[in-house]
């Protein structure tokens, strides 16, 4: 195998290490890519897949290790170098310009033009058409991209990357938003591309499709490569893959004591997360930490938005302590005693230019009587929370942008404690927070539950879900696919439900 492969290695990565503050993103990663193979990468969120891809595309530099591309050694790549070496990436998010046509998008930045800078439209269109024809797909090169379906837009990205005549094509979850038919087309496309001699690195959460197309499968876990499998008969044991993606010792992780769980405080009935998805129902008890697991795009975000009244809800009922409440805006949900700690602290969680005081009291100004604020009283109240939550800030007047991620998150939490809500929804409670502060946040969450607050925690980090949750709901395709209790809350279980290997006997997509 090695002798046969030696001449056709396109990329070889040796002992790559990469550390971010507080996180070992990659450690001792060695990976190789053959000519015209489809090499799939699987792993949980945060396993190091994206970091590794970023090293191949030159947007990150490894701390140590070596890259060999076409037999030449590099300490690191730059985005420009990576492109010249024939490496192209198709990202999940949209990078097309919606107002421009397919052909214009394909050649954006490298327009076919006369020497006076005038664009040769016919030539652009013909060149685009040629690539489209070679892929045997239907796409009008003159159609504006915004008029195309998401699947067709994905094709535009593929056509665009092929226009660079790459030798390596990296695809990051190209089928994430597709229905079954479109997935089939994309998979066929990928096979076709590899048969032309292009090597493909394919990242996906859909294990079935990986089993179908992969020549080799590499499993990432905690920044390391667990194993690389050959997949000659295109029918891999998905349960084995799932086990390999997990297998972490959860013991080293934060351990919480069991707390007493009281009566039901919130009941959600007949809630539709999307127009065409089935209704869901669940309840939340006093003192309970309810974990919500699911992949990106599973409906987790919609669930949070619906509970907090951020979208006009499609349908559904929420009962708080048995009484129906009508939640149509964040204002309604806050009044009902619900607080949300958003996923994006900087965009939606904080006003970065404002002080710790102003960020803390903004949701709860109505605690104070009348229209005029007693600034001394306010400062005293906030100082109380600074002490209680151990927020490290030189002064309550400090602008929050100067605080560390963990302390910023505590300010957001202080806001809802000041407002004295009963139900707290955490969306990715420890995103962008270093390890030490994470543990502090976990401790705070557990203490809050002990004090009788009810907590909904959406998280991509399975260890934290497992360590903290009393119960876990797994969300997939806009519905709750299963509820896990006590001993059932394991990484294996969550992953197999979230990835859809175990589908609870219900219809497959």
């Amino acid at each position: 195998m090695i002798e046969a492969g030696k001449r056709d290695y396109i990329i070889q990565a040796h002992h790559i290490f990469k550390t971010f503050p507080g996180v070992k993103a990659l450690s001792n990663v060695s990976f190789d890519l053959h000519q015209s193979e489809i090499h799939c990468i699987v792993g949980e969120n945060g396993a190091g897949k994206s970091t590794f891809i970023k090293i191949l595309t030159g947007s990150l530099r490894p701390d140590s290790g070596e890259l060999m591309v076409h037999g030449k050694n590099y300490k690191y790549l730059t985005p420009y170098l990576s492109q010249t070496l024939g490496i192209q990436v198709i990202y999940q998010e949209n990078i097309v310009v919606p107002q421009m046509t397919v052909a214009e998008n394909v050649f954006v930045g490298r327009e076919k033009a006369t020497r006076f800078g005038l664009i040769r439209y016919q030539e652009t269109i013909q060149a685009t058409q040629k690539i489209i024809d070679s892929l045997k797909i239907h796409l009008d090169p003159e159609a504006p991209v915004e008029k195309l379906s998401p699947a067709e837009q994905q094709f535009v990205k593929i056509v665009k990357s092929l226009a660079y005549e790459p030798q390596v094509l990296i695809m990051d979850e190209p089928t994430a938003m597709f229905n079954v038919n479109d997935v089939k087309v994309v998979l066929d496309l990928v096979k076709d591309i590899s048969q032309r001699g292009i090597s493909v690195i394919y990242i996906s959460h859909r294990l079935e499709e990986i089993s179908e197309i992969a020549d080799r499968i590499t499993v990432f876990k905690d920044g390391q490569i667990v194993i690389t499998h050959d997949n000659p008969d295109k029918n891999f044991d998905l349960n084995l893959l799932t086990r390999e993606m997990v297998g972490r010792s959860v013991e080293t992780f934060y351990k919480k004591d069991k707390n007493t769980i009281g009566e039901v405080v919130m009941e959600v009935k007949n809630l539709k997360l999307r127009r065409h998805s089935p209704t869901i129902r669940f309840n939340l008890r006093k003192g309970e930490i309810l974990g919500i697991a699911g992949l990106v795009g599973s409906g987790r975000t919609e669930l949070v938005r619906a509970l907090f009244g951020m979208d006009r809800k499609v349908s559904g009922e929420v009962l708080l302590r048995g009484k129906p409440v009508n939640i149509r805006s964040p204002q309604d949900s806050i009044r009902a005693g619900i607080g949300l700690i958003t996923e994006d602290r900087h965009k939606t969680g904080l006003a970065l230019n404002l002080s710790v005081i102003k960020n803390t009291t903004i949701a709860g100004l109505d605690q104070y009587p009348g229209g005029i604020l007693n600034l001394n009283q306010e400062k005293k109240d906030v100082e109380h929370f600074i002490l209680d939550l151990d927020i490290k800030t030189p002064s309550p007047h400090q602008e929050v942008r100067f605080l560390s991620g963990g302390n910023q998150q505590k300010v957001v939490l202080a806001r809802w404690l000041f407002k004295n809500v009963d139900i707290l929804i955490f969306d990715e409670p420890t995103i962008g927070i270093d390890v030490n502060s994470k543990n502090e946040i976990y401790k705070l969450i557990t203490e809050l539950a002990k004090e009788g607050k009810s907590i909904v925690m959406v998280s991509s980090e399975l260890p934290e879900l497992i360590a903290l949750s009393d119960r876990v709901l797994v969300v997939k395709n806009g519905r709750i696919i299963t509820e896990l209790n006590d001993q059932e809350i394991t990484e294996e279980n969550i992953i197999s439900y979230a990835f859809g290997v175990t589908d609870d006997g219900q219809s497959k997509e």
Partner: protein, 327 residues
């Protein structure tokens, strides 16, 4: 972010790299104002006389009041470029009513009410259409100016000597406009610093998404704030007609840009959430002193325009020094 929580302490020193002078824009402005006064005074002693300083204050009253409205809007993340036309429209209506023999009190009341309504309309369009307020109010600027032209037919209109107290009266020897502007500065400062309403404005300007997710009815707050600013503009307009005695449709021309400039010089930012009323008022005073000082030194008005432009750009750059450094 940070590995070691202890290291948080040194983060604060980051800002103290800059001289304290630059850190606090209001303080910086105050120094500049004093320096300029000394320079103007040494070149022409007449500048530093009590009479002249009163005159400076007189000249900036309307701008000072209008700038309070602009600051409230900017700090909350909005802007209103139609305030000049609102002043013009209101003045024209007052004079027209008086010239047609209407009751003076009623005319004044209606004249005050018109900018309130204009502000309300601006607020509704801005909040409900989710369009950029800069563009919406730029359009409304033409609408209100057009209305003022239609009503006045482009003619000079007169107050016929009525209602002079607000613009020309004195209380214990202090000119009325000066009293009004000082009261307005304190009132606006109080509103912004010590009331829930003001705090919510600041939060909305700092991060509108956050304000929304904190249970603030963002649309309603915007409409209220535009309406309130309209009322302040109504007051500015009354002071103006009262002082001038006769007006054209373009009576308020340019106030929107000068108010914007004064607020920005005072440390208010375009992005919202930042700035103080004290700084804003110092911005107004600086503009007034430069204009008056250059007048006294017999500098041509062409150069004055040039000077004002330079001041605005320097002020904006100075207030952005920290950002440039931290990049």
């Amino acid at each position: 972010m940070m590995d070691n929580p202890k290291s948080d302490g040194h983060l604060t020193t980051k800002t103290t790299n800059l001289p304290a002078l630059f850190k606090n824009q209001s303080f910086f402005l105050l120094i500049v104002i004093i320096l300029l006064s000394v320079i103007f005074g040494s070149m022409n002693p007449r500048f530093l006389t009590w009479g002249n300083l009163l005159a400076v204050f007189q000249q900036i009253t309307v701008l000072g009041i209008a700038t309070m409205a602009m600051a409230l809007l900017l700090i909350s993340g909005g802007i209103d470029l139609s305030i000049g036309s609102m002043i013009g429209l209101s003045s024209v209506v007052i004079c027209t009513l008086i010239m047609r023999g209407s009751n003076v009190g009623l005319a004044i009341l209606i004249g005050f009410g018109i900018p309130v309504i204009c502000g309300f309309i601006n607020g509704v369009i801005v909040s409900k259409s989710k369009c950029v307020p800069l563009i919406v109010t730029l359009g409304m600027n033409y609408v209100y100016y057009g209305l003022a032209l239609v009503i006045s037919q482009g003619l000079f209109l007169s107050m016929k000597g009525n209602f002079q107290f607000l613009g020309r009266g004195r209380v214990f020897g202090v000119p009325m406009p000066m009293i009004i502007v000082i009261v307005m500065v304190f009132a606006t400062h109080f509103l912004l610093t010590y009331t829930k309403y003001g705090r919510r404005l600041v939060a909305m300007g700092g991060n509108e998404q956050l304000a929304y997710l904190s249970g603030i009815n963002v649309d309603r707050l915007k409409i209220m704030n535009y309406t309130l600013s309209g009322a302040i503009i109504g007051l500015a307009s009354l002071v103006l007609v009262s002082r001038l005695g006769n007006v054209l449709a373009n009576a308020g021309e340019g106030y929107e840009l000068r108010a914007l400039a004064a607020a920005i010089i005072g440390g208010v930012t375009f992005e919202g959430g930042r700035g103080t009323i004290a700084g804003t008022f110092l911005g107004v005073i600086l503009l007034g002193i430069v204009q008056n000082g250059l007048n006294i030194l017999n500098v041509s008005s062409y150069f004055q325009t040039l000077a004002v432009g330079v001041i605005i750009v320097v002020a904006v750059v100075v207030s952005n020094l920290e950002k440039i450094r931290n990049r």
